[in-house]
């Protein structure tokens, strides 16, 4: 008996899930190669907020995507019904599917699904609809608001645009949810769906969305874009919120090869997620456990990992906690660590998938991208942080870490094909 999504693993736990397409929309580069070039050159996408007058707010910077013309990429039907985040997600998905050489008829009906993470919803769009409701009345609220806002919007719109009818989902886990989406994509593939479009893209850079991000208390008030978001630096003062992310095409390896795939960037070899204990419980934080479980899931030992893409919160106590977890798993200074997300700002659901994409490019080109240089890394962190310039090195495997507010910890291991 065959089942496309049996609760059992039809393809078996040993079937390999590979990444065959990448689509990137990031503040420092649109498209995979533009982004990768910017990352290696250390070009930042962080700048003073230009979408609105931020002079009354405590912070003033954001990772904005300014050179994106949605009308150039999407039909006129989609523009009035989509938030900026969904437009970016749709374009990233277009690029990923093109990169993978996939069209709606590549596989039989129901064999392709979509799993995205979303942490903020269509917030800019929603802010405008709230304004219409309260300044003009219910009759002025858009017929699109019911779906332009909710967290499932990107999954639904990508599904419709590309006729993907397989098992699909939307997950929310603040900044860690994007890795959970990749983990769930692999799960869905193992259960019998050969291809899943997966990742995350977020944006909430309207005034209300921006100020709401400040309410979290972790956004830096620094004003120099080059020295604002400095993960693991002694003068770390918080993060800069950004917009964008990455959508990947994940596939069952055997199915991908059978359809004559153009390229395989690497294997989604390991995934695990944990949650920190309740505040005041006295129990240890759980990031270390997530990293160890992801390595075990990939069948790898710490010594097998060539680079760690860190969560890099940019908040001293969170950086210290992450450094402690990395050192506990690998030994102090035993593995190169990097946080290129300091060039984009934190992208919420987009951060993890973009880091995975970056790790795959690192594997492809044999180079570790650097973290922007701030003040020296505190000795106590015991980190070999790749700073200043890219580090040439053969990269076969990478561990990607992501944490979400209140205790989400997710870890993904990618391995060269």
């Amino acid at each position: 008996m065959t089942s496309k999504d049996g609760l059992n693993d039809v393809n078996g736990r040993n079937a390999r899930t590979v990444i065959t397409g990448i689509g990137i929309t990031a503040p420092n580069g649109l498209g995979t190669e533009a982004f990768w070039k910017a990352v290696l050159a250390g070009h930042t996408g962080i700048a003073p907020v230009t979408r609105f007058d931020a002079s009354r707010y405590a912070a003033s910077l954001a990772g904005q995507i300014d050179d994106f013309d949605a009308a150039e990429h999407l039909g006129s039907r989609l523009l009035p019904q989509t938030d900026p985040s969904t437009r970016l997600a749709l374009v990233a998905a277009d690029w990923a599917l093109t990169d993978a050489g996939v069209s709606p008829d590549t596989l039989p009906d129901y064999d392709m699904g979509v799993v995205t993470s979303n942490a903020l919803g269509g917030f800019d769009f929603t802010h405008r609809e709230f304004d219409k409701l309260w300044s003009k009345g219910p009759d002025f609220v858009s017929v699109y608001e019911s779906f332009a806002w909710f967290y499932a919007v990107n999954t639904g719109q990508i599904s419709i645009r590309h006729k993907l009818r397989g098992p699909s989902a939307a997950l929310v886990g603040e900044q860690a949810g994007g890795l959970d989406a990749l983990g769930h994509a692999r799960r869905t593939i193992r259960r019998g769906t050969p291809l899943v479009v997966a990742g995350g893209v977020d944006s909430a850079l309207d005034p209300w969305g921006y100020v709401s991000q400040l309410a979290g208390g972790r956004v830096t008030t620094a004003t120099d874009p080059a020295r604002a978001y400095l993960p693991f630096s002694a003068d770390a003062s918080g993060y800069v919120p950004g917009e964008g992310g990455a959508i990947l095409v994940t596939e069952d390896e055997a199915s991908a090869r059978e359809r004559g795939v153009q390229q395989i960037y690497g294997e989604l070899a390991g995934y695990a997620a944990t949650f920190d204990p309740a505040p005041g419980s006295g129990r240890p934080p759980a990031l270390r456990r997530a990293a160890e479980a992801a390595l075990a899931d990939a069948g790898l030992a710490p010594g097998d990992i060539d680079v760690v893409f860190a969560d890099g919160a940019g908040v001293p106590e969170l950086d210290a906690a992450e450094a402690e977890a990395i050192s506990a798993v690998f030994g102090a200074g035993a593995v190169p660590v990097t946080a290129p997300k300091a060039l984009t700002g934190r992208l919420y659901s987009g951060g993890g998938p973009l880091d995975v994409a970056t790790a795959l490019l690192s594997i492809r080109d044999g180079v570790i991208p650097p973290t922007p240089t701030g003040a020296p890394v505190p000795e106590a962190y015991g980190l070999d942080l790749v700073q200043g310039a890219p580090r040439d090195r053969r990269v076969r495997t990478a561990l990607v870490l992501a944490r979400g507010r209140h205790g989400f910890n997710s870890a993904v291991v990618v391995r060269g094909a």
Partner: protein, 422 residues
């Protein structure tokens, strides 16, 4: 060896009563909990009825700080979690916290709190550049609602995989499906799974007004939710939550746990058609049902009861009637089908879990809940929808389905342990 997953604890906060028992009493009596909206002045709106829950956080045992910290939807989820955990009898202290996870469904999460904060910060829409002086410290958690599953995790001491599943109106079904998958594959031994939504607020009402999805039967609130009836004209917005303790079957059996039901099959599909519209043929929902039956390794004729999505919109009720006919064949005409949304309304992401609770209780008590307010069936809805009165009959295997914006179509099979009750 295949790991099997069972429901061992249930918590419900639904309109018309508090707790699992009152919920079941309402359903089996065929009473409705829909009423004129009392939370705010709904006069400017097209649809002015809802199924509101009478929920009292102090009486639920929440401390003043918890009440300040937790959004209404979070309070519902935590109250249900506490009830489900107590109901399960599981000694969580004896379980490795890393083997306990959370899968919480919600469609619009903290929408109501977002709106409350907006009104202050934007001065009711007068200030596009919202005033930061009125920024609540909880505003971040309303924007990005990871705090909802976090509070559930803290309430249960879970340190394994924790996530929110937000698939619109199938969230409650999909969150439980997600939890089942994690136990099956070995990522967890226990999952706190379920869903919560408290969307009765002006902005959400306006969303559905705009597309005429909600009912206009404002002069008759108690009879406003009319799934499958010829006079139906939209769904009734509702709020609520249901949470479950899911356990690996052998472990549950070994500790002598009460087992409500085994989740034997789950599948979801997308229609890739329209964000809110449904094709008439129901083929994607039928495919999800087929796959869930397939996974359960049962023939459609084994199904004793179908819990319908039955939202009461014109298009939905025909869509799923068509889907049942494709997926169940002749048995679609023989098996009782009902919609509890006729009584507790449509609580968006939460209702899928509330309906799973109804299914588990139907198996436990051998009673099929009715479809209230069904007097004159739509000629295109020609199945046995159990009108008005609950039906006592053997219930060992149940199909429950959900359909939602974004095109999601989900189906789940629940069965008495070992297929039939002793």
């Amino acid at each position: 060896m295949t790991r099997r997953v069972v429901i061992t604890g249930i918590g419900v906060r639904a309109p018309g009563g508090s707790g699992t028992k009152e919920f079941w009493d309402l359903l089996t009596a065929g009473r409705t909990a829909t009423r004129r909206i009392s939370f705010f002045d709904a006069a400017p709106f097209r649809s002015r009825v809802a199924a509101e829950a009478d929920f009292f956080p102090e009486a639920e045992g929440f401390s003043p700080r918890e009440i300040r910290r937790m959004d209404r939807a979070t309070q519902f989820a935590v109250a249900c979690t506490r009830e489900a955990v107590a109901d399960s009898g599981l000694e969580f202290a004896g379980v490795d916290p890393y083997r306990v996870g959370v899968s919480l469904g919600s469609a619009v999460a903290s929408a109501t709190s977002l709106e409350n904060e907006y009104l202050v910060m934007a001065d009711k829409g007068r200030e596009w550049l919202v005033d930061p002086d009125y920024l609540s410290p909880h505003m971040f958690d309303y924007l990005s609602p990871g705090v909802m599953p976090a509070e559930v995790a803290w309430a249960a001491g879970a340190e394994g995989p924790v996530t929110m599943v937000s698939d619109g109106c199938t969230s409650g079904l999909d969150a439980v499906g997600y939890g089942v998958q994690l136990i099956r594959e070995g990522s967890a031994d226990v999952m706190i799974a379920g869903a919560s939504d408290t969307p009765i607020s002006p902005i959400v009402l306006a969303c559905f007004d705009a597309i005429k999805a909600t009912t206009t039967r404002n002069d008759d609130p108690e009879h406003a939710s009319r799934p499958f009836d010829a006079s139906r004209n939209g769904f009734v917005l509702a709020e609520g939550s249901a949470m479950f303790v899911l356990e690996e079957y052998e472990a549950a059996k070994a500790r002598g746990a009460q087992i409500y039901a085994e989740v034997t099959g789950y599948a979801t599909r997308c229609n890739a058609y329209h964000m809110t519209g449904l094709k008439k043929d129901g083929r994607e929902m039928a495919e999800a049902i087929r796959a869930a039956l397939d996974e359960s390794r049962i023939d459609p004729t084994v199904v004793d009861y179908v819990n319908a999505h039955g939202s009461g919109t014109k298009q939905n009720d025909r869509h799923e009637t068509a889907a049942f006919k494709i997926a169940l064949g002749q048995h679609a005409y023989d098996v009782p089908v009902s919609s509890i949304k006729s009584m507790v309304g449509h609580s968006l992401g939460a209702i899928g879990s509330i309906e799973i609770a109804a299914c588990a209780l139907a198996i436990k008590h051998d009673v099929v809940p009715p479809t209230a307010n069904l007097h004159t069936p739509d000629p295109e809805c020609d199945l046995d929808y159990v009108p008005l009165t609950a039906r006592e009959q053997r219930v060992d295997s149940v199909l429950t389905v959900g359909s939602g914006f974004g095109g999601f179509q989900s189906a789940m099979i629940l069965r008495a342990p070992e297929g039939v009750k002793a």
